[in-house]
C-alpha cells in the first residue's frame, strides 16, 4: 500500500507536443493510502489513460508517478505492484477458477500455503468458494468478472487496485450487488481503490472522493456532497445530478445577478470578475422553486413537468435559456406561466466555466 503522487503528468498518444493532442493534460494530484476513489467522466475524457498510466500499461509523455515518494515512471507494470481489473473479463480458460485467482501470486513466487489461504479468503468474499476447482470455461459474464475482480484483489501488498469500468458487462441488478460487495471489500481489505466509470451513481455510491474529468483534465475532486453543493466547473454541475445544474448566462454585479432584465440576489459579492470572460450563474434544480407568476419573481414558461415519483421537476424557458426547477408538492399552474424562486445560498457564479469564489 502506498500514497500515489502524480507530478505534472501528461500523455499524448500521437507523441505530438501540441497541447490539443494530449489525451491527458498535465495534472498533479495525490491519491491517499487506503482511499476509495472514483474517476468519473464521459467517454474519451482521459480517465482510462490516467488509469493505464498509473498501472504502467502506458508510459507517460511527461511527468512523474511516485509511490510513497519513489519514482515509478520508468518501471514496468510487473514491477509496480499494482492490480487492475479491466472492462471486459479476462479469464485464463485452461486453468481452474482457483488457479485463476492464484495466478498473480504464483507468478510472484508466493509460497503455496500462503497463496492457498489468500485465494480461499478472496473466494469466500466473492462467493466463489464452491467453484474453486471448476475449470474456468463456459461461465456467465458476471462469474467471469468476479474472477477478474478476485485476481485484482488477491494480492495483499498492492499499492492500489484499479478498476476500469468493471461492471459494464454485468446485468443491472447484479451491478448493485457487486458494487456493494466492492465497497465492503474496500473496508475489509483496506486497499487503495481507484474506480473508473462514466456512471455518476456508480461513482457516488462507491467512492469517498470522486475525481471528475473532462476533456483530458481533472475539473474537480471532492466528496459527493462537495460535487453536488459546489461544483468547481460548469461541467461538474451539469454532469453530476439528475437533472444537471442549470447554467444560465447572466450579468453579475456585486451581490446581484441579472437574467433577462430580472435581478436575483446573491449570497456573496462578486466585484472583481475577469473582464471579457463569459459569465454564467449555476444553480441546481433542487434550489429553484416554481411558484405562481407574481411581480418580483423571474417569469418563466413551463414546457413540461417530469414526475420522478418522489419529486417533480418542471422544464421551463426564460427567453432562450432552458432551466429545470423543483415543483412543490400539490402545486399546479394552469396557464404554464410561472415565477422562479432562487435559493441565494446555492447560486454560484462561473467565469469561463470556472467557479468564482465571491467575498462575504
Amino acid at each position: 500500500m502506498a500514497r500515489i503522487d502524480l507530478v505534472d503528468l501528461a500523455h499524448s498518444y500521437s507523441g505530438n507536443d501540441a497541447p490539443e493532442s494530449f489525451a491527458l493534460k498535465p495534472i498533479s494530484m495525490t491519491w491517499r493510502q487506503g482511499g476509495a476513489y472514483a474517476l468519473l467522466g464521459p467517454s474519451g475524457c482521459g480517465k482510462t489513460t490516467l488509469l493505464n498510466l498509473i498501472s504502467g500499461i502506458v508510459t507517460p509523455s511527461r511527468g512523474k508517478i511516485l509511490f510513497d515518494g519513489r519514482d515509478m515512471t520508468a518501471l514496468s507494470t510487473q514491477k509496480r505492484n499494482i492490480a487492475q481489473v479491466f472492462q471486459f473479463p479476462v479469464i485464463y480458460d485452461t486453468m481452474s477458477v482457483g488457479e485463476n485467482l492464484a495466478f498473480p501470486l504464483k507468478n510472484r513466487g508466493v509460497p503455496k500455503s500462503e497463496s492457498d489461504a489468500r485465494v480461499a479468503e478472496i473466494a469466500a468474499l466473492l462467493d466463489l468458494t464452491p467453484y474453486l476447482s471448476r475449470k474456468a470455461t463456459r461461465l456467465t459474464a458476471d462469474a467471469k468478472q468476479k474472477i477478474s475482480l478476485g485476481r485484482g484483489l488477491v494480492r495483499s501488498d498492492v499499492a492500489a487496485v484499479l478498476f476500469d469500468e468493471p461492471l459494464t458487462v454485468i446485468d443491472p441488478e447484479l451491478k448493485w450487488q457487486l458494487r456493494s460487495k466492492l465497497k465492503a471489500l474496500h473496508r475489509t481489505l483496506d486497499l487503495t481503490m481507484i474506480y473508473v466509470t462514466h456512471d455518476q451513481t456508480e461513482a457516488l455510491t462507491f467512492a469517498d472522493t470522486v475525481v471528475v474529468m473532462h476533456d483530458g483534465r481533472v475539473v474537480q475532486s471532492g466528496t459527493p456532497t462537495e460535487l453536488f453543493d459546489k461544483p468547481a466547473h460548469t461541467f461538474v454541475g451539469y454532469f453530476i445530478g439528475s437533472p444537471g445544474m442549470n447554467i444560465v448566462p447572466a450579468e453579475v454585479r456585486g451581490r446581484e445577478a441579472r437574467i433577462d432584465g430580472h435581478t436575483i440576489a446573491l449570497n456573496r459579492s462578486y466585484h472583481r470578475l475577469p473582464s471579457g470572460a463569459k459569465i454564467e450563474i449555476g444553480v441546481r434544480p433542487e434550489f429553484v422553486e416554481i411558484a405562481p407568476a407574481a411581480p418580483g419573481l423571474l417569469a418563466a414558461n413551463i414546457e413540461r413537468i417530469d414526475d420522478l415519483g418522489r419529486i417533480r421537476f418542471a422544464r421551463v424557458r426564460i427567453g432562450n435559456a432552458k432551466l429545470a426547477a423543483r415543483v412543490p408538492p400539490s402545486l399546479s399552474i394552469p396557464d404554464n406561466a410561472a415565477g422562479l424562486l432562487f435559493d441565494p445560498s446555492h447560486v454560484h457564479v462561473y467565469a469561463d466555466s470556472v467557479l468564482v469564489e465571491g467575498s462575504a
Binding site: N52, S55, G56, I57, S76, T77, Q78, I82, A83, Q84, F86, Q87, F88, V90, Y92, D93, T94, M95, V97, F103, P104, N107, R108, D127, L128, Y131, R134, K135, T137, R138, L139, T140, A143, K146, S148, R151, G152
Partner: protein
Amino acid sequence: MDRTVNQKAWFLVLPVFLVVAFSAVLPLMTVVNYSMQDTFGNNQFFWNGVGWFKELLDPSTDLGGRFFASLWRNLFFSAVILAIEVPLGIVVALSMPRRGWSVAACLVIMALPLLIPWNVVGTIWQIFGRPDIGLLGYVLHKIGLNYNYVSNDLDAWATVIVMDVWHWTSLVALLCYAGLKSIPDAYYQAAQIDGASRWAVFKAIQLPKMNRVLLIAVLLRFMDSFMIYTEPFVVTGGGPGNSTTFVSIELVKIALGQFDLGKAAALSLVYNLIIIIVCWVFYTVMTNAGAERQPSKGVA
C-alpha cells in the same frame, strides 16, 4: 407447430447429389470395382474378391512388403514434418510484428513459398542441391561436406524434409498469426498486471487461444505430408533405392508403372481409410484436450 410438407424441396438438393455422385461416389466406386478384380489387359477382368486386400495387408508378400515399408516411411516423414513445422510455425508467428508496414511485408514474404507449384518447388531444390551448379550443394562441398542426395539416404531425407519445411512452415505460421491477432489486448494487459512471465503468457493465453487454428494446421500438414508425391518425386524419384518412396509414389509405381490396377485400387482404398482415421483421431484428441466433461452451470 404446423409444418408445411413440400416434397419439391428435394429438387433443391438434387444438384448437390448429382455433383457429389459424379465427382466422388462414382469414381470411388470404380476404384472399389477395380480393387476386387484382376486384369491381364485387353479390357478383360476376372473376379478376385478380397484377394488384393489380403495380399496388401500381409507384409510377407511383395505387395504387402512394399506397402508397409512405404507406409512406415511415410508416417515417420509426417511425424518429423509435424514435429518441426508446428513448433517452428508458432515461433515464427510469435516473432512476427503486430502493427506497422512490416506486417504487410512479412505476410507477403511468408506467402511466397505457398504460391509456388509443387513441381517447381521440387525442381528448385533439385537444382539447389546439386554440387556442380546448385548453390547449396556447391557451398556444402566447398566446406568439406560430402552432401549428395542422389546416393546418400540421409542426405536425400534431409533434402526432402528441409524442402517441405521451407515450403509449408509459412502455412502454419500464417494460421497461428491469425489466431494470435484475434487475442484482445486486454489479455496481455491483464497478464502484465498479474506479473506473468513471457512463458506464462504463452502457456496461459496464446497457446489456448491458438488451439483451434493449430488443429487446422496439424490436420492440413498431416494430410498434405502423408499424401506427398510431387516434390520428393521430382528431387529424388523415390531414391536412393526406395529410401524416399512414400505411399503415393509407391501407388503410382504400381498403378501406372506396372499397370496393376487391382493392387493399386486396393492400396488407394486402404490409404484413403488411413488418412480419414488419423484425421479423426487428431480431431477428437485435440478438440477434447482440456475440455471439461461435465456440462457447466453458471456461477451465481
